[in-house]
């Protein structure tokens, strides 16, 4: 109960303060609409069905891009982390691509692949790849030698060692990488939808801007923020359910 209060109180206070300022006459209500108007706009977007279809479009792109980028990042990271030859072969390429701000590739992706879902998923996957790869790489390198030696005495299968020793030993780092990836996926979906799309929360924000519907814009922003927070919490919750031992690890 006390926790619930601590959680809701700041939100309620912010909303009340915001409502008062918006209605005080010091600011333009069109530029700075009160939360009550934003709520009405949100309700309008829900009943018109646009909110649901926007959410669905953005979420699909995020999930698909996150999945592809993470899978490739984990796979490559384990290889470069554990095998010197892979690290030597791939590091130069990856190191050159890494300093690029990922949003900088969006124009090129549009020229190459257009503005459909596939292109957006590619951009997101590209951006997610780097933090996941780097974290996995570091995670795979820091594995105590005793784990690997011990495993070798107990099994002859290198597949088993990869799956049951190297992967879990690197997992706390992998999870940290994917979590960074989630935040980056939200940036990428938003920017790529701004740059050209016909649905999604980023698209909605760009057209409300053109239509001067600040209330709808703020409603869409709040949804984007809420979605990001929920995604992160779901991820943390999911990894704890899937890997219960993770809570004991220091990272």
């Amino acid at each position: 109960m006390k926790r619930f209060l601590w959680f809701t109180l700041p939100i309620v206070l912010t909303l009340v303060l915001w409502e008062i300022i918006s209605r005080s006459g010091f600011v333009s209500p069109a530029l700075f609409p009160p939360p009550s108007k934003v709520a009405v706009a949100l309700w309008g977007m829900i009943t018109a069905g646009t909110l649901f279809s926007d959410l669905r479009a953005s979420l699909w792109r995020i999930v698909a891009g996150l999945f592809v980028g993470s899978a490739v990042g984990i796979f490559i990271g384990l290889l470069t982390g554990r095998m010197k030859s892979f690290a030597n072969a791939l590091s130069p390429i990856i190191q050159i691509l890494r300093p690029l701000p990922p949003v900088a590739i969006i124009p090129l992706v549009i020229v190459w692949f257009g503005i459909d879902d596939g292109a957006k998923i590619f951009s997101i996957a590209f951006a997610v790849f780097f933090p996941v790869w780097i974290n996995t790489h570091i995670g795979a390198r820091q594995i105590p030698q005793a784990f690997l030696w011990g495993a070798k005495l107990l099994t002859a299968s290198s597949m088993k060692i990869f799956r049951e020793v190297i992967f879990p030993a690197a997992l706390p780092f992998i999870i940290a990488g994917v979590r960074t990836g989630i935040a980056i996926a939200f940036i990428m979906v938003f920017v790529s939808e701004l740059a050209g799309a016909s649905s999604g929360l980023g698209y909605r924000i760009s057209i409300t801007h053109l239509a001067y519907r600040i209330d709808e814009m703020i409603a869409a922003l709040i949804m984007l923020g809420a979605l990001g927070a929920i995604a992160d919490q779901l991820f943390v919750f999911g990894t704890r359910k899937l890997f219960p031992w993770i809570k004991f690890s220091s990272k």
Partner: protein
């Protein structure tokens, strides 16, 4: 008949000489302890015996070797029973379950089988590590200060437990420790490693099965003192 035979062994870590002129033998079922100061090369010796690291000279050991490490003995992502079952995949499901059950019992952890190492005490974790090695029925068991991080009381109990286990399994054991009392209590023979070489060997005359009381006899103290002096008087 010697079960482990080492001739003219030397180990270098990028130029640094960690072991040299090492001659070593252990008979089948013998319990050999190695004592020495920190940095004398005890861990290095075990790692060479297990063929983990490059060395020069000859090492003859049986193929099936088990090892209990100084640190990071068990996998934190597996429960007690999963740790013990790791690597038993070539066995049939039934046999595997049977082996895990037996070794959980041996480790006295039947009621903790679904716990993760982080939820167990240091002594319990080391019993998992030892049970996991024994589950593979190794011919030789290499142990690197397995009780180094335990408090004295737990260590005493675990030493007695290990002697009981050893009495039933009769493995050849090479046991590294910096605790002379532990070495004398457990082993048939104690080797002193001084500055990268074995400098002295002591036979332990106490009858088995051994119990705590032997530690309080004058013979025990005398042997302990002799070993202590052979380590401390050594001028590298």
């Amino acid at each position: 008949m010697s079960h482990i035979a080492v001739k003219n062994l030397a180990v270098h870590y990028d130029g640094y000489c960690a072991l040299k002129d090492i001659e070593f033998e252990a008979g089948k079922g013998e319990f050999v302890a190695i004592v020495g100061k920190s940095g004398s090369g005890k861990t290095t010796f075990l790692h060479a015996l297990a063929h983990f690291i490059p060395f020069s000279g000859e090492i003859a050991v049986p193929k099936n070797v088990g090892m209990v490490f100084q640190h990071y003995a068990v996998f934190p992502w597996f429960t007690a029973s999963e740790n013990i079952g790791f690597g038993l995949g070539d066995k049939s499901g039934n046999e595997r379950v049977q082996i895990v059950r037996e070794h959980l019992k041996l480790a006295e952890l039947e009621d903790k089988k679904d716990k993760y190492p982080a939820e167990l005490s240091g002594g319990q974790v080391q019993r998992i590590a030892i049970a996991r090695s024994l589950a593979h029925n190794p011919e030789v068991l290499l142990m690197d200060e397995p009780y180094g991080a335990l408090d004295a009381y737990t260590r005493d109990k675990m030493q007695q437990w290990l002697l009981d286990v050893w009495a039933t399994h009769k493995k050849t054991v090479v046991y590294v420790t910096h605790d002379i009392e532990e070495a004398v209590f457990l082993a048939d023979r104690v080797l002193v490693l001084n500055h990268h070489k074995f400098t002295k060997e002591f036979m332990v005359p106490f009858a088995r099965p051994r119990h705590e009381e032997v530690k309080f006899t004058p013979e025990f103290s005398r042997l302990r003192k002799e070993i202590f002096e052979s380590i401390n008087s050594f001028e590298g």
